[in-house]
Amino acid sequence: MSNLKINFAGIKSPNPFWLASAPPTNSGYQVMKAFDMGWGGAVWKTMGVPVVNVSSRYGAIDYRDSRMVGFNNIELITDRPLKDNLKEIEAVKRRFPDNPIIGSLMVESREEWHQIVRDVENAGVDGLELNFGCPHGMCERGMGSAVGQEPKLLELITSWVKEVARTPVIVKLTPNITDITDAARAANQGGADAISLINTIQSLMGVDIDRMVPYPVVDGKSTNGGYCGPAIKPIALNMVRNCAQLGAEKLPISGIGGIENWRDAVEYLLLGAETVQVCTAVMHYGFGIIRELLSGLDDYLKNKNIHDVSEIVGKAVANTTTWENLNLNYQVVAAIDNSKCIQCQLCYTACEDGAHQAIGLTENNRIPYIIEENCVGCNLCAIVCPVEDCISMVRKDQGQTPETWKDRLSAGNVPTSFNDPLAGGLGHHIPDPEDGIKKN
């Protein structure tokens, strides 16, 4: 077994897999069960001001035969009494002293923050997570994402917490903001020890087209909720790497958003997260997915000959850059492996209707061919092809010295008009518009 132990901003965890603050961490029963099955840590369901929840709380989007590729909720923070939560935190800590419990918190005034920080730290939590991200219900009362969207306010409240906190403070960021790094910097300014992201994305899950009301329906009405699940991973990954590239202002990151299997987790770690938090996948499949997460991560590390999981953290960050730094001399074209082609012609129609008309058909043979001079190397055909490794993108340039837009800009080597020979679109094959009309 590789070493999966992580020290996250001073919080020691047996592995990087934490349960996110959400329904799966609503009670000592659930957290105890999760730790017993192998979860590393748990962020307790947000404790704070008293709330009332509605009935009918979740909505989901299915894709074809896949259930719950996206999920949202309109549930608020815990509606259980604080003293019950604290009692159960103590009980879990007694039983699992090595598994970190993070207390997620959300209150309003400075006094309330001080009080609740003391209460949960007295119960034995290993860290605090400030919920500045909830984008539904609580934000209408000036909490959650209402705080996360105002960097100044976020910084102030973080500093209140830091006045009394004895354990590391993690600020949970909302993605419902133009630039998440503003919030990440403010957390740093406020004295936070780490950040976690992303919280859910404000969303309407879809509309019941017969009753004409969005999901989830509460007595004929609905409201916006928080979007999560596998579908949001790309958005979250980008925000994680943005925060990982903050240089001197960077804080340790706990990555959240659509993590369901070990691959997702590795991707987050490579982009700079040190722990990952999981919720939707557990709500779908239960705590048992930890078996696959742990074995998958371990196998990956073993296959890469890496002994310690912390070694992979941030390994893809340096390879993530801005567009202007991409090599314009790099050239790939599609190549079809005829022996693997199943003749569905999805590549043909995708390229024909959705890209650059660089795939042709021959009569009496359903296997398409690439028109190399039209191919811009966009990957679309390889993406739509249902057969693994049937279409590959083959490097065609002669390995010239890399030249980026930035290089060209500094050399004054950029097009100034669309007719400029340096412009990209010139010389690309474009069929006659009239040829688009079906001929009989």
């Binding site: 199943i342 003749q343 569905c344 012609q345 999805l346 359903r366 249902p386």
Partner: protein, 441 residues
Amino acid sequence: MGDFNQPESKEDFLNNFQEVKPLMNSTEALYESARCLFCYDAPCITACPTEIDIPLFIRQINTNNITGASNTIYRSNWLGNICGQVCPTEVLCEGACVYNHQNVKPIEIGRLQSYATAQAIKSGQKLKKDAKKLNQSVAVVGAGPAGLSAACELSNIGYDVTILEARSMPSGLALHGVAPYKITNEQVLAEVEYLKQQFGFTIEYNHPIANSRDMAYLDDQFQAIFLGIGLGATRSLKLPGENLHGNWGAVEFIETLKISQHQLKVPQRVVVLGGGNTAMDAASECARMGAKQVILAYRKGLDQMGAYRFEYEMAKNAGVQSLWFVNPLEILGSERVEAVKFKKTRLENDKLAILDEEYTVPCDMVIRATGQSKQVNVFSLVEGIQYESDGGMSQGKLPFQTTNPKYFVAGDAFNGGLEVVNAVAEAKKAAVSIHQYLQDL
């Protein structure tokens, strides 16, 4: 498999003839439809004689637009439900599915088709377009797949259609000739009833066209006549002993089985002569009726057999044994069939050579699945119908028009005996020809 007891009740019968392609539930339909790749210029459409837009209806099922899906199907094939179940999809649409190139199970197109159309039938979904009524009447002879398809198409255009059916029940071979494990009588009748309700054509049962007076009536009362009369009785092999008790033609046997079900008693030992799909059905059915020994006897070998391989496998799985390279010589017995005497054969340069060695198989019943005769009698009643030198019917100006311009023919009577779906496809085109003929009058 292969161990069936003689069915004593309707329930036993249905148990022995469990459907090969049972109706899907909505979950299975969702999963199966999700697998469809939505191919460009999809090969399944090309492989379908009725050219149903298969990727479209599958996508419609996947988005729970079942009304749209069944409309897509019916627009191309008026017997969408029956065809979904009885079509040899393994060699048509499903055989063309690109997943076959990947050794992935092809999409179960037939079952998806039946899934969508079964709901249309159940709900009585509107099918007929709002066409202006044309004041012309067309007679359709035969309420089989061809006749029904032509009747639907003509009614949809606006014609007043009357079907004249010799039997007391509709659907021709779809009801009387398709093996019960492919479709139940109830399912066939339900679709016909649905189509009748939707299109409003009338079916006059027990109305054979047997003589020139019958034909004169048609000629007098209708502006055009469609002959969907199928084929006649099983051809005789002219073997000594064909008149003994226990001799059956395959088509007659299957028809009796379909109607009598468990009341038909099949004896212990059966020999089925032939190597086509009808032979496979008859043999498989005998095994399922509890016969202890069913022998399929064919003049050539497995590779020369006309039957689809999956049909042969199905018969084999039901317990049918095969006897290759034997040519029937005589059916032995005093009053009842007691045995079949064969001569062994072999292929010499692809030609069948009959050897001297004889071979006798004891049995209680012989089924000839050796093709059906043409309906020459009916055609001879129509004035001016001409034939080509090869025996095929000469075509008039329009597709499926005979040399008597008022008469059109499609289906088995035209093609010599193909699948239900071919009859449906041809008859739809014939109906378009009829429309053109009547418009041009």
